[in-house]
Each structure stands twice: as C-alpha cells, then as structure tokens.
Amino acid sequence: MLKYIVRRLLLLIPILFGLSLFIIVFVHALPGDPCSSILGEHTSPDRLAACRHGLGLDKPLYQQYFDYMNGLIHGNFGISATNRVSVLDSFVARFPATVELSLAAMLVAIGIGVPLGVAAAKRQGSVFDNFATVASLIGISIPIFFLGLLLAYVFGVWLHWLPTLGRVNHRLYDFTGAGTNFLLWESLVINRNIPEFLDVVSHLILPAIALGTIPLAVVARITRSAVLEVLNEDYVRTARAKGLTNRRIDSRHVLRNAMLPIATIIGLQTGLLLGGAVLTETIFSWGGVGSWLFQAAVDKDFVVIQSGTLILATLFVLVNLTVDISYAYLNPRIRYS
C-alpha cells in the first residue's frame, strides 16, 4: 500500500511537468501581458518595455520557462506581477475559504444526494422517483449564477434570513488573531465562541447550496443507478433469505456495495470544487481561490496563473489518490501493490 502511494506521488512529477509546459505556452499565446494590464492602454512604449524587462518578459519563452521552473524546484512559486505579493502567500490566505466552501457544498451534495438516490431507487418508477429524476435534471441544468442570485435575493434580500456577502460579519467578529483563515475551525475550536461559529455557518449556507446543487444532482443520479443495480444482485436476495431486517440489508448490503461508484464521483466532484468556484465566489463575495485565479486571468498575471494551476492540479491528484485509497477499504477485491 505504501509502495502504491509513493508510486502515485512520483507520478505527480511528469504530470506537473507536462502541465507546466502546457500552461506556459497557453498563457503566452493569449494576447496581452501583465504590463499592459498594470500600465493601462495609454502608456508609452518605453515604459511598457521597461516593465517587460523588469518582469523578464522580454526573454525568449524557453528562457522564461526555464527560469520559472528553476524557481519552482527551489520552492519559489513566484510573485504576482500586479500586486507584488508572493503567489504562495496569496494561495495560503485564500485556500481555506475555498476548502470550507467546497466541503460544505459536498456536505449538501452527499447529505441530500445519497438518501435521495437511495429512496428513488427503492421506489423505482413511482411518482417520487420521477419527481427526483426531474429535480436532479433541473439541478444539473440550472445555471449556477442564476441559482446563486435567486438564493441571495430570496433568502437574503427578500426574507432577510441569511447573509449573502462574505464569510463572516466583520463588524461583529474579528479574525485577525489566529490567522489560519479556517473560520469554522477558529471560531469553534480556538475561540470557542458559539455565536461567532453560528455567524460563520450562516454565511456558508447560501453559497454552499448554490455550489452544491450540481454535485447533489450528480450524486443522486449515480446513487440511484448504483443502488438499482445492487438491488438485483444475488447477494441481496441471500441477505433477504437470511431474514435480516430491511435496515440492515439496505445499509450493510445494498449501500455498502453501491458506495463504490458513489465514492468515485464524490472524489471527482470534490476535486473540481477545490479548484474554486468562480461564479459562486463572485456572487457571494467569497474570497477564495476561484475569484483569485479568475482575476489573475483577467490581469494576464502569468506567474499567478501558472503557479495557482499547478498547486490546484497537485491537490486534485491528492484528492483522487485519497479516493483510490478509500476504495481499497470499500472494496476488498482491490489490493494495491
């Protein structure tokens, strides 16, 4: 098992290498560069050239790539061209917000999607099943910006039930202290302040629902088909013949086997969410990775795009590795070596 993990981690090296090559070519192929964003359109060619020289953009592309990779190998992720802040520092500051949002969204997706899928499968062809099918179709097809705005309008602006901007009410609670930026963790475990924790949770609810709706629909669909397949298996009939209670048959025999495809889809969806949700983060002013990378793309901030993407790719691989390892636990037929 350890060998397998090490091998998978070693596999990261060629993946990241190939990806870095792809990204640097791709971003440089785009029109414009950081200097034109920083200096604006109405600037002199001299200032532009000076700026390019300062950032090393006047060197040949292979030279830029070599310099960048050289820095990366030495643990230097580079500095943003637009605000001169270390890319790693920006990422570390913003990533906790994305993690909290992604996990909350997956909690919504799994917590509702799995029971919904199981219930639909057990009542295959019923009104409930058809309703669930239509609901998940809507969930998959609804544009996220529309859903986000709708939620913000109905529950925030109209009903005043939930806050719609930011991660916490900064007028009431100040999180400058511990600095982990994991606000749920800080409020509950470090500050032990329940009203503060509830305030953070209330800020999380609407963005989590907006972001979790698509994964929810996907998880519900996969769960339904996985459960339907397992329900027809001989070992489920064996379980019935043993006189087990329905609850035990469902939990130990049906769901336990259906979890295999569900775990895969949960892993993939979590990996995707960790890449940041541009639309959701923008609508709810959520200072996460998604809006950061989006801004970098707008500014043509090459270094931020390159390093940010590589960090996220690494995380994606790690999440999928975690899923594969959990597979070995879920499915004893798989043994990694």
Binding site: D234, G243, L330
Partner: protein, 379 residues
C-alpha cells in the same frame, strides 16, 4: 381435493393449490399453476424439471422472496409447521427466514456479498434472529459452522472475503449460512449447477450429511435427475408450472409413467448400462406460459398424446388406482397427471408401443394431407 391418510403432525410443509403469477410486458405469466405437495420432517424431496418450469418460483414463493412487484401469489396456501406463511405479517415472515427456513442458491459466485467478511455474513444471520447472542458466541458458532462444512483454516477464512474462495468453498459457506440456526427446512435451488462436475458430488454429499445430522428436511431443486437419484427419498417432476409426476425415487426411476419423465430419464447419460444408446432429447420447447391453453401442457411435445390430451387437462391421480393415497414420506404412492401414461416397456424403449399414432403427428399429417390436396387441385 386429495385425501391424505397420514396425520397432520407428520407434515412439515404442505403446499396447497399454490399459484404464482408474474406480470411482464408480454402479459401475465402463470409460473406456477395450482400445485399441491407435502414434505415430511427430515424428508429429502427432489423437484425436477427443465428451466422455466416453476421450480425456483415455487421455492421463492415458500420463502416469501418472490421478486416484487412483478411476482404475485395468485392463490393457495403454504402451511409450514402449522402456520400459513402467506398470511404472516412481513416481520413474522422475516423472522422465520434464516431461522426455520433456509435457502442455498444456485450461483455461489454471486450469492455472497463481495465487500464484507465471511465472518460478518455468518454472524449477521445468527444475531438477526437473537440479539442476545454475544459477539464472542456468534464468532464461535461461525467458526464451528465453517468446520462443519469442511472448510480448511476456518479461522483465517472467517476474516477473508468471498473472492478469496473457490466456487465449491463459497457454496460450502452458503450451506454454513443456511445451517446457522438449525433450520427445519433447507431449500437448495440448483446448488451444484454452477460448480465443476468434480465438486458437485462433494457438495451434494455435504448437503445430505448436514441435513442428516441436523434433522432438517431438504427440498432439492434441480434440472438434473442424476443429481437427485442418490440423495432424495421422493421426486416430484414439474412441467409448465405443474407437478406432472411424483413417486419415491426408486419407483420413479424404475417405473416412470409420465412421458415427460420418460424423456428426462432418456436424456441422462448412463455409464452404468454399458450400452451405447444415443441420448434422446425431448423435442420442442416448453409452452408459452403467458397463454392459458386447453389440454395437457406437454401434449404438443408428447409422442403419447391422444385426442383427449389436446383438450382436457389431466389431474394428478394415483397410478395404482384403489390403493390408499399417501403423498408424503417414504410410503408415498406414485401419482401422475397423464391421460395416456407410458408402460414399463414403452418407458424402457423411450417411445410409445408401435401402433400408437400421436395425436400431434396425426394432426400434422392431416394438415399436410389437406395442404397436399389443395395443392393438387391448383391448376
């Protein structure tokens, strides 16, 4: 209605007029049609027939495991140990399954759960019916059961999973699960069909041994008369959802009466007879069960068929008329549902005595002659 001379106490299971229907896209399938039979305690009964004759459906109906909502019991009673299983509440029936009624399924490769340990699969059946059993006691019982069914290294096997076992070993585990609570009846549905020929005999012997030791009655369902020959006291032949012949094993092999039974016997390879008779297959296919038809369901494939067979459905009646009718236990009499049963000579030859023209052949001949006449009249 039939009469039974034996006292009711001697019957463990009595199935009366049981009918099972399936609804399918092509209409209602009459999978089992008003079958009646009994099983004495400790008896081993073989139920034989080709695929789709209703053997498995009968066993699933007894277990209360008919696939829902497609399968439905359309009538009849299943009296087990004095209670009608068909009127029990779902929870009462659930408690009976696994405790008094156990089942061994056809395909051991798919009948065990692949992702939980063998131990859990054994322990859960023990604890499902008695929550007071401690984990340690259940573990010990699981260990004893694996030893009983002849699995080497039972301690290690308990911690393992189904995929680490061969087909024969998995079927032994299935038998251990069935035996866990000393059931009164074990239904074995084609328990050796999916196994290697070399393993089949071992598994059959195991079922016989554990049934003898525990005193359980066994219903052995198979399409292979060779399988039931050695281990059952009585055999019941099913065709198209009906019982067409029932007799003690010895009697059935020596004096088959129903043409279908004769056909089944003639299609078993026999090494012991030393001659090189060709195997005689039964022509044709089982009937379409979605249609209600007049007459004997086997008639279209039967060389013995008479005019009456095509229009009137035969009841299951005693072959030796006038004798007392005992349908269960070692003293069971021979009964057959046939208007023109085979004689011993005919059974030995596998064909009707010369002179008999099958009604089917006659009808076909008549149609051919009519067609020929029409053709001859054409210019």
């Amino acid at each position: 209605m039939m009469t039974f001379d034996e006292p009711a106490a001697e019957r463990l299971l009595s199935v009366e007029d049981l009918s099972v229907e399936f609804s399918s896209s092509s209409g209602r399938v009459h999978a089992v049609n008003r079958i009646t039979f009994e099983l004495a305690p400790h008896e081993t009964l073989g139920i034989v027939g080709e695929s789709g004759c209703g053997k498995s459906v009968t066993s699933l109906a007894i277990m209360g495991l008919l696939p829902k909502p497609a399968g439905r019991i359309a009538g009849g009673q299943v009296i087990f140990d004095g209670t009608n299983l068909l009127t029990l509440k779902p929870d009462e029936m659930r408690d009976l399954r696994g405790r008094d009624l156990a089942m061994v399924f056809q395909d051991p490769m798919t009948s065990l759960n692949p992702v939980i340990t063998i131990e859990e699969q054994l322990v859960e059946v023990i604890r499902a019916h008695d929550s007071k059993v401690t984990k340690a006691a259940a573990h010990q019982r699981a260990l004893d059961l694996l030893e009983l069914v002849g699995i080497p290294n039972p301690k290690e096997r308990l911690r393992g999973y189904a995929h680490q076992l061969s087909g024969g070993m998995r079927q032994r585990v299935m038998i251990a699960i069935a035996l866990a609570l000393n059931p009164k009846l074990i239904i074995a549905d084609e328990p050796t069909t999916a196994l290697d020929v070399t393993i089949q005999a071992q598994i059959l012997e195991l079922i016989q041994r554990v049934a003898n030791e525990s005193g359980a009655a066994v219903m052995l369902i198979t399409h292979d008369l060779g399988v039931v020959a050695g281990m059952t006291q009585r055999i019941q032949v099913m065709y198209a959802g009906r019982i067409v012949e029932t007799a003690t094993t010895r009697e059935l092999f020596a004096h088959p009466r129903h043409p279908y039974t004769v056909g089944l016997l003639r299609s078993i390879p026999r090494l012991d007879l030393g001659d090189d008779r060709a195997l005689i297959p039964i022509d044709g296919l089982p009937p379409d069960m979605t249609r209600e038809r007049a007459g004997c369901p086997f008639a279209p494939r039967c060389a013995w068929a008479t005019e009456r067979c095509l229009v009137e459905d035969p009841e299951l009646v005693s072959v030796t008329a006038g004798q007392r009718t005992v349908s269960s236990g070692p003293g069971a009499t021979h009964r057959v549902a046939c208007w023109n049963p085979a004689t011993d000579d005919e059974a030995a030859q596998g064909v009707p005595a010369s002179g008999h023209v099958s009604a089917i052949t006659a009808a076909t001949d008549a149609r051919v002659a009519a067609a020929a006449a029409i053709l001859a009249d054409l210019p």
